[in-house]
């Protein structure tokens, strides 16, 4: 009774009263406080926008994907016809499909750029090791979306790239044949494969990605955004990460306390996420959307001719972000192909996943981590060179 009379006397009229009613029963303003009114530490700028950019693109893919699913038929008899229907009969169909197609490439770019920025700034170190690990799984899921997505149009590229892509785990000794059959839903690529890829692409991966994004975001909010290393390390010694500090449990606790003390100081000098920091994120989101629309207008939306399993002249090529893997397989002789296909990539992913645990350098500035920087640049150059070679 008291609450009702006090809310009636407040300014803002009916909308305000409705909001107060909902808030009292849901705690919605608490959610706002945690996610939007949270304090962002001093020095955070454009390099911190790529995570939001990745989230924006995931949302964009989810929304355009829902609308594409209204017209798509996941069976070899109708998949290609339904894509043609989207392209030629549905008003705005090519725009929706184009945003989804180019959005996929943009999402791979953003997720990798986000990871690169976190790596260069050493933001995966204490206390954000788990955030990094969840992020590596999110990168894998993003690539999984790409792989399962390009079979769906059932054109030549879709069919042949998936034939090759699913044959790769098939080269592994012992488990190879089982993996291939599980990936295809049987020995041959056909109706069961398409239905399976569709289910994974539209149900399993979105559920997995959304859950892990929630965990990732929770961790980001829980720890707060990292302070740029240039500011963090300007005046004082580094705070050792958890692995390094485990050598002495007492030292670890003292250093964790020191970390939190210093972080709070930086946070107090910063500003709230809304409306200050988010404006850069919003600008990036708008630019990303315009770039995707620009790509769609200038390069169109590719759709090759209908998949023909009897075609002997087609040279299958994966999407550009898998090209380095495609090229790398050429470096391994026949009997060792499973090393390049089955051993090397999972090992690389494992090394990436465990990075915060074995990188024991307490420093975060790239200038103080020359070895890590050289290794990262070498890997980036190797991927770029393999991609370049694949297009020659």
């Amino acid at each position: 009774m008291q609450t009702a009379s006090s809310s009636e006397s407040r300014p803002g009229g009916l909308p305000r009263r409705i909001w107060d009613w909902v808030d009292e029963r849901s705690g919605a303003s608490g959610v706002w406080k945690v996610f939007f009114a949270r304090q962002i530490p001093l020095g955070v700028g454009w390099l911190y926008t790529f995570g939001f950019g990745s989230l924006f693109l995931f949302t964009l893919q989810a929304i355009t994907g829902i609308f594409l699913a209204m017209y798509y038929s996941p069976s070899p008899d109708h998949a290609y016809d339904s894509i043609q229907f989207i392209m030629y009969q549905v008003p705005f169909g090519p725009i929706v499909r184009g945003i989804h197609h180019w959005g996929a490439s943009a999402m791979v770019v953003l997720v990798v750029v986000h990871m690169a920025a976190v790596f260069v700034m050493g933001a995966y170190k204490y206390p954000r090791e788990l955030t990094w690990m969840v992020g590596v799984v999110l990168l894998l899921l993003t690539l999984g979306f790409g792989f399962t997505g390009y079979l769906l149009p059932w054109d030549e590229k879709a069919y042949w790239a998936t034939v090759v892509g699913t044959n790769i785990p098939g080269t592994l000794p012992v488990v190879g044949e089982y993996l291939l059959r599980i990936a295809r839903g049987g020995a041959q690529l056909g109706a069961l494969t398409l239905a399976r890829f569709y289910a994974v692409h539209t149900l399993l991966l979105p559920a997995g990605l959304a859950t892990l994004v929630a965990v990732h975001l929770y961790l980001v909010v829980y720890h707060g955004v990292s302070v740029p290393p240039s500011l963090w390390e300007r005046l004082s010694a580094p705070v050792r990460n958890l692995t390094a500090s485990r050598q002495s449990s007492l030292g670890g606790a003292a250093q964790a306390e020191e970390y939190h003390q210093r972080y709070t100081e930086f946070k107090n000098q910063g500003h709230p996420f809304w409306p200050y920091s988010i404006v850069e994120d919003m600008i990036l989101a708008a630019v990303l959307l315009l770039v995707i629309l620009g790509l769609l207008v200038t390069l169109g939306v590719p759709l090759e001719s209908r998949a023909d399993p009897t075609n002997t002249s087609y040279v299958p090529r994966p999407d550009w972000y898998f090209m380095f893997l495609f090229q790398m397989l050429k470096l391994f002789p026949g009997e060792l192909e499973w090393v390049g296909a089955g051993l090397f990539p999972p090992l690389a992913i494992l090394l990436l996943f465990l990075l915060p645990l074995y990188d024991r350098s307490p420093w975060r500035s790239p200038s103080r981590r020359p070895f890590a920087m050289v290794v990262a640049v070498a890997i980036a150059l190797a991927i770029a060179a393999l991609t370049y070679a694949a297009y020659q």
């Binding site: 964009l60 929304i63 355009t64 609308f67 209204m70 017209y71 038929s73 109708h78 016809d81 339904s82 043609q84 229907f85 009969q89 549905v90 008003p91 705005f92 169909g93 725009i95 929706v96 945003i99 809304w274 409306p275 200050y276 988010i278 404006v279 919003m282 600008i283 989101a285 708008a286 959307l289 629309l293």
Partner: protein
């Protein structure tokens, strides 16, 4: 000193408000740029009217003046990306050598197939007892409107009918 602080606070508030507006404006821009094609793609095809389906009902000489005749026509229907052929029933009444009335073969009440009772000179629907005159006017029963007439032309001695289905159970004739 105090006024300086107040001024700074006011400035900060105005910057805060300004940035809030910018965020909302960018959000609105993104929602509009995405919303128009997405809603358009989902809604517009569903509102599209059926296309014309000109099918042959037979030679003009196949019909006798004053004798309603039931004809099965094969209509090609496009259901999204699936094209299929379906047999549909129509009734043809030859009024003179060059004048016809063609009815959709479904009762306008709930879509049952009706038939011609030569003894009563009425069209009779077996489902709910709807009856119509030879001109399609309702005599008795629940049909809310006369039988649905179809457009026709004569092309090289053949009666060509523009087959359409209509919304059932309502007083107005609305093509679907």
């Amino acid at each position: 000193m105090q006024s300086e602080t107040t001024e700074r606070t006011e400035k900060q508030i105005s910057r805060r408000t300004f940035l809030s507006y910018i965020n909302v404006a960018i959000g609105g821009f993104i929602a509009t740029v995405l919303g128009i094609p997405l809603v358009g793609a989902a809604v517009l095809p569903a509102l599209k009217q059926g296309q014309s389906n000109l099918v042959s009902a037979g030679a003009v000489t196949d019909f006798e003046v004053g004798q309603p005749k039931s004809v099965a026509v094969t209509v090609t229907t496009k259901d999204g990306w699936i094209q299929s052929q379906e047999d549909k029933g129509i009734w043809v009444i030859k009024k003179s050598e060059s004048d016809f009335t063609v009815f959709n073969g479904r009762c306008v009440h709930l879509g049952c197939a009706y038939s011609w009772r030569a003894d009563l000179k009425e069209f009779v629907c077996p489902c709910h007892g709807g009856t119509y005159t030879i001109d399609g006017q309702v005599i008795a029963g629940p049909p809310p409107r006369p039988l649905d007439t179809l457009q026709w032309t004569i092309d090289q001695g053949k009666l060509m009918v523009d087959y359409k289905d209509f919304r059932l159970g309502v007083p107005q004739k609305e093509a679907i």
